[in-house]
């Protein structure tokens, strides 16, 4: 089953003359173990697409499914629970809470979801170990480098049963070596069975993905990736 499925989604902000058509009929599926990069100039609809995928926004028309659940049919409460349990986010900045240690930051989503503190901390330390930061669990964000902080954010995004990770320019301010290490890690986590969507304007970073979709004016104009993808053959050209 696809972890993320966006079907013919439209998103219009505003009405009448002032209406902005941010997305105009986008279809995108992401399977477990698949990393999809979205590239496009500012205003092309990248952020809107990511917000729809993350349940932070709903389509004006069309459907979004996360792990088979239709976002449009969920109550606010159900949606919040799904965001906590199924989806991990990695943003360019403002990722970690400065007053919490690395382990506390990673444990936070679990604790919010009702997992006991001790159990959550245990899982967090293990998750930090998986991203190569086991020793830094008791450190605060400002005691870590930018690259280490971003790895903590990835550990947090994928803790628990989260199988969808959404990354928005996750290498923003990092130098090229550190940025590459972050993408390598994202790639590894996706290879281990997660589904990933990476929004970036850097081709070198998008190249870590299995597929790269090019967004222009709210429409996917092209896709670069494996030439024969089953769903590409099955999906009717809309």
């Amino acid at each position: 089953m696809n972890v993320l499925e966006i079907r013919d989604a439209y998103r219009v902000h505003g009405t009448g003359e002032a209406a902005v058509h941010a997305l105009r009929g986008v279809t995108l599926t992401v399977a477990p173990g698949e990393l999809v990069a979205v590239m496009g100039p500012s205003g092309s609809g990248k952020s809107t697409l990511l917000n729809l995928a993350g349940g932070l926004d709903r389509p004006s028309r069309g459907d979004v499914f996360v792990e088979g659940q239709q976002i449009g049919r969920m109550s606010r409460r159900q949606l919040a629970a799904m965001r906590r349990r199924s989806i991990g986010y990695v943003f360019q900045d403002l990722n970690l809470l400065p007053s919490l240690t690395a382990a506390e930051n990673v444990a936070l989503p679990l604790e919010l979801d009702g997992v006991g503190v001790r159990k959550a901390r245990q899982l967090a330390v293990a998750a930090l170990g998986e991203v190569g930061l086991g020793d830094l669990a008791p450190r605060f964000p400002d005691e870590m480098s930018g690259g280490q902080q971003q790895r903590v954010a990835i550990a947090r995004a994928l803790i628990g049963d989260r199988r969808l990770v959404l990354a928005d320019e996750p290498t923003g301010a990092l130098d090229s070596q550190t940025g590459e290490a972050v993408l390598r890690l994202l790639r590894t986590r996706v290879d281990a069975g997660a589904a990933g969507v990476l929004v970036t304007h850097e081709a070198r970073h998008a190249a870590w993905a299995d597929r790269v979709v090019f967004l222009r004016d709210g429409v996917i104009v092209d896709t670069s990736g494996p030439l024969t993808e089953p769903e590409q053959l099955l999906e009717p050209a809309s």
Partner: protein
């Protein structure tokens, strides 16, 4: 760049014959620059003519190794010390193609740009995959060659983005009455 300087650099390690040179060349460029043996011998002949290498007696297997001369070493030192002049590189076919696309009536320039971008992106994905796959065993020279290809492909994608943005600005000005490209290219409805 020249195969010439590449071979000189390899001979600086010690005398080699044609097939060894070809193998060593391909090894040091990660086989991204395949050489045929004819190119190797032609180049060796010219290097010999210019006094930069000299042939040694044939070995038992009938192969003739070459060694670098003093002038060869000097030439090599100059090569390493001199930055590569961009205008010495082969002319950029893609840039010329795009320039022609813009001035040729009936060509969907946006489609030309997008087709190229997708192809370059795919190459970039493949290079990146090579890098992931050989992560542990990757030696530094090969990694650097791979990175060079990655950065060049990235630059091409950025340049294509820039071209597209310029095209959009250009077509928005009302000054282009004839042969205005249709705003909805046929490929625009392809979904993933």
């Amino acid at each position: 760049m020249s195969i010439r300087h590449g071979l000189l650099a390899l001979l600086e390690r010690g005398p080699m014959y044609g097939y060894q040179l070809r193998a060593a060349f391909e090894e040091s460029t990660g086989a991204t620059w395949p050489l045929n043996i004819g190119q190797v011998y032609t180049t060796l002949n010219r290097l010999e003519r210019d006094g930069l290498v000299r042939p040694l007696p044939e070995n038992d297997g009938g192969q003739r190794p070459y060694e670098i001369t003093e002038s060869g070493r000097a030439e090599l030192a100059v090569w390493f010390a001199t930055p590569i002049n961009r205008t010495d590189r082969p002319r950029d076919e893609l840039a010329i193609k795009l320039a022609l696309a813009i001035t040729t009536p009936g060509v969907d320039v946006k489609a030309v740009v997008q087709t190229q971008r997708t192809a370059t992106m795919r190459a970039l994905q493949e290079y990146t995959r090579l890098k992931t796959r050989d992560d542990d065993g990757l030696d530094l020279p090969w990694r650097l060659v791979l990175d060079a290809m990655i950065f060049q492909a990235e630059a091409e994608v950025r340049w294509l983005d820039h071209c597209e943005a310029s095209l959009v600005r250009h077509t928005r000005t009302p000054r282009t009455p004839s042969a205005a490209p249709s705003p909805a290219p046929a490929h625009s409805e392809v979904t993933s």
